[in-house]
Amino acid sequence: MTSSPGISAAALALLIAPAFGHHSFSAEYDANKPVNVQGVVAKLAWVNPHAYIYVDAKDASGKITRYAFETSSPNALLRRGWKRDSLKEGDQVTVDGYLAKDSRPLTDGSLHGNARLVTLATGKTVFAGSSADDGGPAK
């Protein structure tokens, strides 16, 4: 077993199993469009069929882009240790995920993606992939 770079060996990695998606990963998301987004949590939408993490990322010029990352269902997250307030507005996070094939923003203007791994400022990582049967990447 090896540790992933950037994650302390002492950090408790809380893995959120990727079960409970209701659609195929590749029908909606593009495995060739990986993203690594560092920013602050704008909100955690505790909704079905997938909870969403909204992250505001600032580029070098100061422009803020809001991403909406799909995760598992709230029930699936809950069974694996998440709560509706596990992520709070303003929390620093890094999200490794994939962008949607359909590049249209959601109705609120946010870019649409699928989160596989969320790393908190503490170094704690949470796996947030949306489905055990979705055919998507494992992270």
Binding site: M1, A13, H23, A27, A45, N48, P49, F127
Partner: protein
């Protein structure tokens, strides 16, 4: 690829304990051998699905088969589908050429038209990662599904099929006990559901016979036979094993609450 590689030693130890789960398993071994996704052997023969595995499934309890007041095995409990490749049904289905073509077309479009993605019922005998509950009485046995959408199946005991019913998503089921095995006979399906996540189709002629048995406290075995003279060349039989959870409940899951996926499933 397992996300186990992201684990710290401490977390790995915890996960190792948690993932001792579904160990038993003739059916799982069969599934493992036939898995179409990447298969990784793991503790207890836990199976990876397309490189993804559920590390934190509860470990099923050990004990004898419980019985109801009428002496029948009691199937009551919250059941999980374990770490299956959910699309797997014991090898290739004996599909007629037109049905094979439909399945291949659905795969070519990455499953974008899957009714499940539209928050419609999954049908029978498709399973999902969502838990379900069985509630049993001498007259009727009910399966309550958390997802894909909230739905139910009721097995009316010792009576015939209702010939007047319209085709439906979950079909119409009757059941009888044959010794310690509950035999469920289901007909009256519509043709809108997919038999599995790979897009295998069926017709309204689908007939499903399930044989449920509970060999011990923690496991629910099901032998499933599908007949469909409209889509299959011959009947197809396979087995599954569900595991009991003593720590999970089924919860509300309103799939259509925020299903932004519906018009964004572009496929290729």
């Amino acid at each position: 690829m397992s996300h186990r590689r992201f684990l710290s030693p401490l977390a790995a130890a915890i996960v190792a304990m948690l993932s001792l789960a579904p160990v038993r398993t003739e059916a799982q071994s069969a599934e493992k051998g036939n898995a179409q996704g990447k298969t990784l052997g793991g503790p207890g023969g836990v199976i990876a699905v397309n490189g993804v595995r559920d590390e934190n499934l509860p470990t099923p309890p050990i004990g004898p088969t419980p019985h109801a007041a009428d002496g029948k095995p009691n199937l009551f409990g919250v059941w999980l589908s374990g770490n299956y490749n959910f699309a797997n049904m014991g090898g290739a289905l004996p599909l007629q050429p037109w049905a094979q073509k439909v399945m291949e077309d659905r795969q070519a479009t990455q499953g974008r038209d899957d009714p499940e993605a539209k928050c419609l019922p999954g049908g029978v005998p498709r399973i999902t990662p969502y838990p379900f509950k069985i509630v049993q009485s001498p007259e009727v046995i009910v399966m309550l599904f958390e997802g894909n959408v909230h739905s139910f199946r009721q097995f009316l005991l010792d009576r015939g099929h209702d010939k007047e019913l319209d085709p439906s998503w979950m079909g119409e089921s009757i059941a009888s006990w044959q010794g310690d095995t509950l035999v469920v006979d289901t007909v009256n399906f519509n043709d809108k559901t997919w038999l599995n996540g790979r897009g295998a189709p069926h017709t309204e002629k689908l007939h499903v016979i399930e044989r449920y048995s509970r060999p011990d406290l923690g496991h629910l075995d099901v032998e499933i036979t599908m007949e469909d003279p409209g889509a299959f060349t011959k009947p197809h039989t396979f087995k599954r094993t569900h595991v009991l959870s003593t720590t999970w409940e089924i919860h509300e899951y309103v799939c259509n609450e925020f299903n932004v996926d519906v018009d964004r499933l572009v496929g290729k």
